[in-house]
Symmetry: C2
Subunit: 146 residues, 2 copies
Amino acid sequence: MHAELQLDNQVCFRLYTAARLVTQAYTPMLTELGITYPQYLVLMVLWEKDCQPVNDIAHRLMLETNTVTPLLQRMEKLGIISRKRGEQDKRQHIVSLTAKGREMEQRAYDLIPTGMSEQLASCPLKLEDYQRLVQELDSIINTFKK
Amino acid sequence: MHAELQLDNQVCFRLYTAARLVTQAYTPMLTELGITYPQYLVLMVLWEKDCQPVNDIAHRLMLETNTVTPLLQRMEKLGIISRKRGEQDKRQHIVSLTAKGREMEQRAYDLIPTGMSEQLASCPLKLEDYQRLVQELDSIINTFKK
DNA sequence: AAAGATAATATCGTGTGCGATATATTGTTA
DNA sequence: TAACAATATATCGCACACGATATTATCTTT
């Protein structure tokens, strides 16, 4: 019986579980918007800066392009983004928001912060705990990023 | 521009990213064992207590049975677990380790703690940081679990 | 004990993630 | 400048996750 191999001693299992459960907590609001959590991440990247090539979006989300490309294709079908070939560099696909994609920012703002803070009400963590948590997660992300 | 909707302010995006990256860090060792990370989680559950029904494994991992069932089917094909109908309750499928599945515990112990601590060497977090992190993640998991 | 409710597991469809590989374009170098 | 390397993106295959639904067995209630 190796204590190191026990589920209860695993940070990774907690990260994996916490990520799944918190993502699930977004689902009711995201369903109302008609999108998934990874699609919401792409939208946040584009709300911050519109018209970016696939690579920049992938880097920002620390995902591979073979994950992001099909994601963007689905989002294009939904009519929330559009893609066009880069003008200087024809290899690039420049991704931009449609009117529908831009309008979703306000709807997201009306739904998501409220919806999440309601669900977080029963969480014992305080603001400073979250701030430290974010920093520690960034340390972990930095340690393992490629 | 809503600050609440910026990627940099999102705990969930950190959890999502940290979980992916740390799981990826397990991949070289797990590939050597011929399994995936979720399969490794199932093995840890069974190393701790052999012969469990699907439901108990799913509860322990906080996953749905429609995720766990196909996972177990793949593991059965790999010859690391076996499944048989419950004797008192014929609806149950009792999952148990094969000899191969039991032997993998020692191999995992030889590969994984070493492999992970090498990769963690450059991480600035100290032991007490990890301990607090685990507790805070448990708080989050508890808040959002169903 | 027959009927309906509940429980345990499985199946199906969709959307990620990601390794491996392909394709098209651009940059570099002999 | 023709050949070759590098880059940006896409395609393919496989393994999760998970909502919705189906199937089989047990439990409960009349």
